[in-house]
Symmetry: C2
Subunit: 370 residues, 2 copies
């Protein structure tokens, strides 16, 4: 029947290769028959949302029949205070993934180039390919850090429209200090949009981050998915110049954000004690993982996030260890691209989850030789 | 500074005119100073979500730190039973608005034509313009019904890639019976995708709807926003051929749906008694509005939805009545385009909300002469 097919997608869409997105843990449970998994694969917060956010959301569930405020006005008002910016310099979306898609759509014309690091957060690549952009890649340094010099050089050479950088980075967990970041930013072409993905910035002290410059060539994205423990709510935001907010306003889904997510985000911002508790608990977890790895003579990459990469020497061993852990009900992930593909990436769980990981990890390592 | 501006959106995005989306009731409250409004403007359900859905969602709020299943597998499994289709013929998104954007992006290439009815659900137009399509419009008939003959004729003449039809329609509330619908569908060009928006189909008996044909030229969309009372949750789905699901799979936001929305949707489907209660209560409300209008010598358009259009004779009077009602704390909307612009559109509220509307409406009509 193929030759008589009358319905064809638009050519640019038909040209996109079939996608293999992150496989979710629910699918892995269906495949392996596990009724539950120790969820350490998606950097979800093991400490849940703020109890005040849960309380606020529970109270409002009967009004879930109402659409959320399309302007997210109350939330943006609070965020404007937090980030010392104007409400007109903020746009709320259903998570950074959605905002990233809007930014690519808005600023990377079909055929234009977007630059990222090979093996960094793949959803950026997904959007660039999806909107017909040309993906240009720099590599990680051999120590797992972003190669800022290569990014700057490539950005100029390839005349890119957009430069993507996650800081802290995912999946490496590494962090670019504010001085380095500022030098990097200043060295980039002035006609390229810098998409600075700060999904994990809530784990970093404010003083360590690049100051909140409002410029039309800088778009910073933040989320309630990580330190705030609301990944399932799908809510994040971008901070940028009004001109860019006006542009996104022309294409964003105005009624796309869950009302309860708005309410939970507002309550979360009012509970900074909980965020600080999570940040401290996560720091403790990173230390536990570093100690565990050291006791096994394995290296780790210093991380400023809620996950740690552990070096298993080869990509093959890292893959086998990940798969064996899954068979034992422990779900982690691993970077897909060299040079990070010899690592496994483990999210910081609760102490009980870390203990479950340690037990399984020690057993699996003994079975999967280097 | 304009002349030295270095950051410019992609040309196709820059060409989109600034948008005026639906203004939300929250913004109207800020503008008018009302601390609350009788919300009868967005066809939200006044009966809320199913109590079983509220209970299920409340129980899972502490796990909102987990992403939802990107495959919405459990929900799609239930929907496959409900619609007697395969799970591979279903795709879940964060509301019909999002799915509609994906369908336009996938099937309306830049410059290709998409056909809809002038003044029908405007988010379709928003997406067509946003993705660089060419919007082709047929008119409503003078009785407020969709002009199926004009749509068929225009679809052929303009070689459109996509035909949009909402059934029941919004904002008219009218319904195309399954025989008419089948004839219309059969008469359309075979190489055009038919996007059949069934947001309000849960208010119609299954037997009155067009049978669930699975063909690659038919994409039906459904939502939990209306009869199921979960507009704020942002969850809907499309039913179509696997080939189209595969296409959307290449561009959809895989982690875009709120986890709690998935849980609420599943619980809602398990509580058909509640949906039937809502459908009956809404039918009662429509009758109340028809009686109210008749007592005021005003015509209404027969509606199969949770809203009713009331004829105020002229667009100017309809606008003034809507604005006066807002000053009194009653929020309704009105169609923007002729021939429906002389109507106001009022959602079916609870009996108390309808009584508040009636009181304010009678008072305002006395002040705003025909």
């Amino acid at each position: 029947m193929e030759e008589t097919k009358l319905i064809r997608p638009a050519p640019a869409i038909e040209a996109i290769p079939p996608t293999v997105p992150f496989i979710g843990p629910e699918q892995l449970m269906r495949q392996t028959g596990h009724a539950e998994l120790v969820r350490l694969g998606a950097n979800e917060s093991a400490f849940g949302p703020s109890p005040k956010a849960v309380e606020a959301m529970a109270a409002e569930l009967p009004r879930l029949s109402w659409y959320g405020d399309p302007e997210s006005y109350d939330l943006r008002s609070m965020l404007a205070v937090k980030h010392r910016c104007a409400i007109e310099e903020l746009v709320v979306g259903s998570g950074i993934d959605e905002l990233m898609g809007l930014v690519v759509r808005a600023f990377v014309a079909p055929g234009a180039a977007a630059l990222t690091t090979r093996g960094s957060y793949p959803t950026l690549n997904y959007h660039v390919i999806g909107y017909g952009g040309r993906l240009v890649l720099a590599g990680y340094r051999s120590d797992g850090r972003l190669d800022l010099e290569a990014l700057v050089e490539t950005a100029h050479r390839e005349s890119v429209s957009l430069v993507y950088l996650a800081n802290p980075d995912n999946p490496s967990g590494t962090f670019v200090s504010h001085d380095e970041m500022q030098r990097f930013y200043d060295a980039l072409p002035k006609n390229a949009v810098v998409l600075l993905d700060e999904a994990y910035a809530d784990f970093v002290d404010d003083g360590e981050l690049m100051p909140a410059t409002i410029e039309d060539r800088l778009i910073r994205t933040r989320t309630f998915s990580k330190a705030y423990g609301m990944a399932g709510a799908r809510i994040g935001y971008a901070i940028t110049a009004r001109s860019n907010v006006d542009t996104l306003q022309k294409i964003r889904l105005h009624y796309g954000v869950n009302r309860n997510a708005q309410i939970g985000a507002i309550a979360s911002l009012s509970d900074d004690a909980f965020r600080r508790f999570v940040v401290d608990a996560v720091a403790q977890g990173r230390e536990d993982y570093a100690r565990l790895a050291a006791s096994l003579n394995l290296a780790t990459i210093p991380s400023k996030t809620n996950f740690v990469c552990i070096d298993l020497g080869t990509a093959d061993r890292a893959t086998r260890v990940m798969n064996e852990l899954l068979q034992r009900g422990v779900w982690i992930r691993k970077p897909a691209q060299a040079p990070l593909d010899r690592f496994v990436r483990v999210s910081v769980g609760t102490p009980a989850m870390r203990a479950a990981f340690e037990q399984a990890f020690r057993a699996v390592l003994a079975e999967v030789p280097a």
